[in-house]
Symmetry: D2
Subunit: 316 residues, 4 copies
């Protein structure tokens, strides 16, 4: 895939996200105790949580819902003018906690998204004020100590269509992809700035729409992920696979399932960034993927079959 | 300092740099054996070296010169149009190894810089071909294993003037700064994309022009830096200070002097990035800096007195 | 110093220790929140705390006392017969929580010690039961996550005399030492098994008796110590020096002061062990020590002047 | 299994080992380039290699032989008297490079062993002299940087018999074991001092005798093992499984096959030691092992089927 390096990057980063869970308080417990987020706001059906180095007022909203899954993904525009340049807006709302006016739309697979410019800054209080003023809140020193939301990996019934949407409408750039034997994309990794990726679309084997593969949080070190594995082990959290290193994007990873059923990744990319403005998309074939992950780990079956909400595969 | 978030980011990243050294082969030995760069090209008076994850054909050029110091810093434009938008060019040259046409200029303190768009990709050969095709060369597994050039810290006789140049001409954004009691800046950290910083200017206490404080290389982990300290210890490399963590920017650091006398930093920022497009410059006062580095280390005297080329302070 | 390799090693390891503190609850807060110990027992004037991988029922007892300092150090014999072989016992007591009969004595500098064989095993409950049955309690995932007590460093007015006591009476072996220009020992590191050291005596510049330099806790990684530095920073704990690496014994260290004033070390030795049964004592001279710690850090002044209880130096 | 804590520990540590390889120079290349050992001696059919923190003159001898496998394992006695106490000696030889008189014997499965007291110290030369005199040689800063040989895991046709030999004759202590449904041991981990284990016997499913499961080298950190995985990946070394953490003994591990076919483990135990002189053997059942390794990794098939020399299983 090619992109125009001179096209302005109108989306700065992925912002807060909403997750649905059938067990709100259990999910909250996982995010607070294991991932080390902090509860910062609450309403009748949801809880707002913050990662310690997010400059914005909240990072994840957990919403009580019959089935697990992903709600809205908010994206911050790069500036007021960038916000105006973005096309395809369905409607504008002003009732989102911590954000100013949000322009809502859906991707071609039905995932809800919202772009915004105005946002409230996180304000630490006496219990989490950091010693160094260049971080949002004190380092929690608890559980996985995730620094920030890193990326969202969506399932989609039509990778090429959502991929085109990301490239054409949002101006995201495809850094790596999996191509099927027929040459079409099976999964695509897009970035918004210099991170290796921010938004990922993976083919949904069930043909369903609007589902989630996982959301991921970044840690500062691989050691935090190794320790998080011990924390999950003792806390009875389901470890799906890892820790190991992906061949694609070389991310060091651990996948666990939060109590509501959503897959959560802890990830670390070391100092790897995509600095080249004309980075050429890396394509991985079936043969290459047959080698397994970077150090040879075979991909676990559930990685291909579990998504939220859980749906029966077609024909069963 | 404020900036316009909608202003396009016309410089993508700092590119290769030139360093002067009075002891070319000794300096080369340090960069190859201790930092783990690879020699990729050589001419009569200089050696071109490559870090294993640089997508470009070379990262550092060591040039034999009577005195240590910094030569040209090359900056890659974000695109062909971005290159055209940059003002203040002195002349264009086409004789730089591995780069296309380069637009040359100097900063207000006399440091030479060059902006370019066309660049040659690094091509691994049979001796350094990586197993994973999303990295430029095989992981060296030697010395400090630095992944890439991270930033350049220049000494300047006039911080406000060079700072204005970075902001106004290059469109760089100031993420953190040290302010003197009179409110003027004593040191400024600017970034070009989402890294915490790429270009730094520090006040030159000697009043001299065009000098270097240090260049820095990024490692994937803090552990690589701790091990590098052992490698330097056994190799007889002068360790100036560290490993420790800066309060400013929170960079984990180690400072050593290469055989030519130039100060070299090994640095790691964990997963810290500046994602906010309207990040407000963090200012550090003298009182705040009196607390020392993040964990209390007092700044070593030579950090304020050593630069290259070495010059006698005024009045002595 | 020489020792007879065939002499049985009658002391297996240092056991629980008692610390005095003028601020019992504040000290308890530090040990629980920052070091990650767990309160397991309490009486009128003291609190018993446990590190997560101690097989015994408690690790540290904090005792309310007007002045900070060290109380008894308990040492576990290698077996019932080993216990009988140890000479120089003052009296036997059976009222120590979690221990069987204890043979009490003092070292030549007046530090109280007790040797025992019978000991209660730690029994995890539903809130700290580990997933793997080969560890005593669940991994806390909180603060510094110290695994176990590592060593005690005593101040003494007479290093040669206490050193002889360690060697002759306890059968400990000197692995490293600092020698003064007159050839006498200024500090001595002794081990009881295959660890690099367990008991250390450092000359007390004040001439006082029975004081403490520090007690140390082992972490699994250096990364835990780097993170602990951040936890201490945000918690307002006084960081005295580090993280850095000692030249002597090569221990990676961080020194902090707990709220009661006692110096606490977090330490990691990597995979370093003393396997040679005829290890020859390594001696460090003043000239060698002038190079600073392993990577060049100069020893901070308070490291030579602070001990507990705090006493005025002689002649002042 | 019980042991008498008062029985002296007559074996201090496992000493150098011999490995057979059909491709001597290729195996040497792996040990030097990937594991970072150093060639220190050579004769017609073998090469002697040294790990950087081994106080003895050599660590591994690679011997050209038609089939891969393990040769002699040398064990250092705890002292001259300890050497005399050891029974069951077949003969004494004095022709082993770097060692004094060696008392030879075989374990019940036919593995050759030798116990010795006199040993030559490693002497660094100008190319590997360490800056700190408490380590044997300079830190290599190359490949996996293994510090020392950690343990040997033998295959045996009769675990109970070899286990009794280890306990009764050598005085080793069983720290953990796998028990079959009939209560007999399938694998046993024994230690000689305070390490978690030094000698391991695993049931040989082929019924053959004298074979090797793997030898292991200790690294200082888990990060060294993660990096070693990258080094092996780029060097084309076969990674069998890992990095991951064993449930048994909690060792962080990576298993690779050296060019001769012998399985090599890189391992790290953090600060875990067996300090209790009356440690009770931990027994793992089939049901417990069905949970996989500590974080859930399923044991790879070849782990149960590959040993050296390679032999066809019975009945095929």
């Amino acid at each position: 895939m090619n992109h125009d390096p001179d096209r302005p990057r109108d989306i700065a980063h992925i912002g807060p996200v909403e997750l649905y869970t059938p067990v709100l308080e259990e999910s909250r417990g996982f995010f607070v105790d294991v991932l080390s987020l902090r509860e910062v706001h609450r309403d009748d059906t949801s809880v707002y949580l913050h990662t310690w180095d997010d400059y914005q007022s909240w990072t994840v909203r957990l919403i009580q819902r019959e089935q697990a899954g992903i709600g809205r993904t908010y994206l911050r525009a790069s500036g007021p003018q960038a916000l105006e340049r973005l096309p395809g807006i369905d409607k504008r709302v002003s009732d989102v906690y911590g954000l100013g006016e949000v322009s809502l739309f859906t991707d071609p697979d039905g995932h809800e998204m919202g772009v915004y410019w105005d946002t409230a800054r996180y304000e630490a209080d006496d219990t989490d004020r950091p010693a160094l003023k260049n971080q949002a809140a004190a380092y929690p020193g608890r559980g996985a100590n995730v620094r920030r939301l890193d990326h969202v990996n969506y399932l989609t019934a039509d990778v090429p269509k959502t991929s085109a949407f990301l490239a054409d409408v949002l101006g995201a750039r495809c850094t790596e992809q999996i191509v099927k034997d027929d040459g079409s994309a099976q999964a695509v990794w897009f970035n918004l700035g210099q991170k290796t990726y921010d938004l990922v679309y993976t083919e949904d084997w069930t043909g369903a729409n609007g589902r989630l593969h996982h959301i991921a949080f970044a840690t500062d070190t691989r050691e935090e992920i190794l320790r998080a594995a011990d924390v999950c082990l003792d806390a009875g959290v389901h470890i799906e696979t890892g820790p190991h290193k992906h061949a694609i994007q070389q991310t060091f990873f651990l996948y666990v399932w939060e109590p509501g059923g959503n897959r959560i990744e802890l990830c670390n990319s070391g100092a790897r960034l995509i600095l080249a403005p004309d980075w050429e998309t890396i394509s991985w074939t079936r043969a290459e993927r047959a080698k397994g992950q970077a150090w040879g780990l075979k991909t676990i079956d559930t990685f291909h079959t579990h998504g939220t909400p859980v749906v029966p595969p077609p024909g069963r």
